[in-house]
Structures are given as structure tokens and as C-alpha cells.
Symmetry: C2
Subunit: 244 residues, 2 copies
């Protein structure tokens, strides 16, 4: 069976085995599919959505705007990510979500999620875990932002995105497609666009990456990890005996 929720199921199964029943429940949870063009908002801050959005295809970013119009991106999402599962319980969006590229999105009604939590405790724990990993990533970003240099922070972000894309099979050789502008990278790292440019040049000069157009190639994974002080544990990508 060709499941709509393939990428999500693939991800959840990295945490724990799913029963066929659970897989079916997930797949049936999708009410409809939505397309959002690049640079459009998928959801806006303050919205009270009735569905949660599962990203099937494309890149998206959670963001907040502060008074002087500056923007901070607090998460970057790839295929298989449940970009606002938290809205199921948080109700009001505390941030917007932007489509970085054209996106294909599956909508899961909150009512269905409620039914899942009533009937599938184990699946519920996996979905909960999914949001907990979001939190772990936030913490890692906070640390990188507060205590790493701009260059180290950038290296760190690249390591993370590389592994996350690898986990969903979006790596060819050592190359990922990263359709993100330098301005967007700046909003992610809390840097100016100009400085992002310089930091990238440094990583290139050091022979750590190649980055032309959207194609980012890791030239020296070990050194890149070291520069970014990167350890992957927080991503929970290995199935380390967990039994949610």
C-alpha cells in the first residue's frame, strides 16, 4: 500500500515499531492535501488551526517577527516533519510557518488527533516524542546561538540539516539540496546577511563545504562536526532501545 504518511511513518519507526493498525490510523488521519507556494505563509502567528500540518514535500520554517521587522527562524522543516503538531494542544500558534519552497502538506484534523490519543496510547507517545525532539532541537539551537561563534553555529546547522536530510534519504553522495537563501540562514542563526556570506566563505576556504546554488556538499565531515561542536544525539535518529 502506498501510504500518504510514508515519510512520517519512516521517521516514527526510527523510534519504535508501529503496528499495521497504527499505520492505518495515521494514514486515515489525513483529511486532505494542500499545496503552498514558496514564500507563502503556511500558518500565521495567532492562528487557531483546526488541523495540524504534516509536510510531505518541500522545506518550511517556523518564524517570529519582532518589532523592528526583524525575523527569527526557530525551526527548519523537511519532508516527514509534523510542522505544527503542537497546535493540536497549544491551540493558538505562537509563531508563523513559512514555505521556503513549494510545499505539499497533509492536513490532520485535531479531532482525529484527539481520537488517536484516546484510542492509541502507544502511537500517542510516538507523536508526543516527535514534539519532544523539536524541543531538543530548540535547546541545541539556543546553545549554539548563545555560546558558539557565528562560524561554529553555521557549521552546526549544516551538520544538523545534513543528517536530517540523510535520515529521509535526501542525500546524494555527500550533497544535499538546500534551497535556503543567505538572508534566511541569517534569520535562522541570528546574523546579518552580510555576515552569513562571510562565514560561508570561511567554511569554503577551510575546505569544509562547497555551496553553489542550492547544492551543498560536505567536503570534510569530521572537521565540520568539530568546528560546529556537533554531536547528533539530540536528534534521536538512532533507534536506541526506546519503547514508547
Amino acid at each position: 500500500m502506498a501510504l500518504m504518511t510514508n515519510s512520517l511513518i519512516l521517521k516514527l519507526e526510527k523510534y519504535d515499531r508501529l503496528s499495521d493498525d497504527e499505520k492505518r490510523a495515521l494514514d486515515n488521519a489525513i483529511a486532505r492535501v494542500r499545496i503552498v507556494d514558496a514564500d507563502e505563509d503556511i500558518i500565521r502567528e495567532g492562528d487557531r488551526p483546526t488541523d495540524s500540518s504534516l509536510l510531505l514535500e518541500g522545506f518550511a520554517a517556523r518564524y517570529k517577527i519582532v518589532s523592528n521587522g526583524r525575523r527569527q527562524i526557530s525551526a527548519i522543516h523537511v519532508a516527514g516533519d509534523f510542522i505544527d503538531l503542537h497546535s493540536f494542544l497549544l491551540k493558538t500558534m505562537d509563531h508563523g510557518v513559512l514555505a521556503l519552497t513549494n510545499c505539499r502538506i497533509a492536513l490532520v484534523p485535531h479531532a482525529t488527533l484527539e481520537r488517536i490519543t484516546d484510542e492509541y496510547p502507544h502511537l500517542t507517545r510516538l507523536l508526543w516524542l516527535n514534539t519532544l525532539i523539536d524541543g531538543a532541537v530548540h535547546r541545541e539551537w539556543l546553545t549554539a546561538m548563545g555560546r558558539l561563534s557565528a562560524t561554529a553555529h553555521m557549521a552546526h546547522l549544516i551538520c544538523e540539516l545534513y543528517l536530517r536530510l540523510k535520515a529521509i534519504g535526501h542525500v546524494e553522495g555527500d550533497t544535499i539540496q538546500l534551497p535556503i537563501t543567505q538572508a534566511e540562514l541569517g534569520d535562522t542563526l541570528g546574523l546579518s546577511t552580510v555576515h552569513v556570506n562571510r562565514v560561508l566563505q570561511e567554511l569554503r576556504k577551510e575546505g569544509l563545504i562547497r555551496f553553489q546554488g542550492d547544492a551543498l556538499t560536505i567536503l570534510d565531515w569530521e572537521r565540520l562536526k568539530k568546528v560546529g561542536e556537533f554531536t547528533s544525539t539530540y536528534l534521536s535518529l538512532q533507534n536506541e532501545d526506546r519503547q514508547p
Copy 2:
């Protein structure tokens, strides 16, 4: 009945009504109580705890250390906070938790949490929500860190702590007890101790706060909020018709 979990229940009931049955389940979930002295670790990064810690009394902070010994605090916790509920599903701690003051902590075995998630879907959603609010706070901190000035960031943090302490009845007049050193504030905001000192002086000079010893008094709430670009929605402190 004098429930051990009083402060937590008070907090959860801000989100949704709890049945007596649920309250009892929570209270019975506490296996034992633990005391941790100030400046001791409650949990260390890499630990795989078998219980989650509910802070009954005191202040605690989640933190990570980076290579050069610098520290980043990613959350500050007060009475009623479930400081590592996420370890129930995340298994391995991606950060340590430090007791900022002497702490009294209730331990809830993960096995009990699993039983709760099997039997009390509604209570499960409330606990899940609790961890989602942690995430919302992380996002807000990311934004403050990346896009606000040091002074604004500090003002923002003070606003948040003030409201969270108010919510658990720890405000007298306009004064809170904040037993946190300037070095710890620095590790929270990603600033040096010296700069924390200067930023606090600025807030004092502006007539926004008084801060002597541990006593922090809000002198001008409206202006403080404005300086810190603070809006309280992300804390989910109001019972806005939510029905988890």
C-alpha cells in the same frame, strides 16, 4: 487532602479541569521525594533516568556545556515545573539540570507515566501540553536571543519570570525572589557576566526594576514589557478555551 502535586495540579488546571480521579492518579504517581542542594546537579547530560522530576520547591536550570567550558542555560524552572518530563520518552538527557537553590523534588517513575498514558488520555494530553509549553518558551528565547538587544532580552526574561512566579503565587506586591547570580543570568542570555551587570544597571537607571540581593521589584511593568517586546501568550497562562 494535601496533595504532593499541588503546584503542578494548580498549573495543569490553568489549562483544563482535572477530574478527582486524574488528580489522584497524579498524586499516586510520586514514588519518593528527593532533596538536592544548591549548585548540585539534579540530572546530568547523558543520564538515562528511570523517573521524571517534578520540582516542588526551589529554582532549577537546564543547561549544556560547550567545548571551551562555556555554559548555556536553556530553561529556568520554578515550583510546579516538570523539569524533565521529556526524559520519559526521550530516554537520554540531552542536557543537565542544575539546582539553582536547594530543591525539593518529587520523582515520578517512567513506568507510572506509561501507565498514565495507557489509562488517562485526557491527563496525558495535559502532560503533553506541559512539554509543548516548554517548547514555546524555547522558541521565544531563541527569538529574544537572535533578534533582541541584550537589554531587551534581559527585560524579556524578567517579564517572563515575573509572570510565571505570579502564576504560582510567588509574588509579593511587585516583588519576586530571584535567587540567580549575574553569571547565571549571563549563561541564560548568552552574555558575559560583565555585560549582564551593565544591562541591569541600565534597567535600574531607567526606573524599570529594583534588584537587590534576590529581591527583584518591577517598578514600571508597562515600560518593562515594552522594552522587552514582551507578550505573554506563549506562556499559555490564561485558560483560553482549550479542551485537551
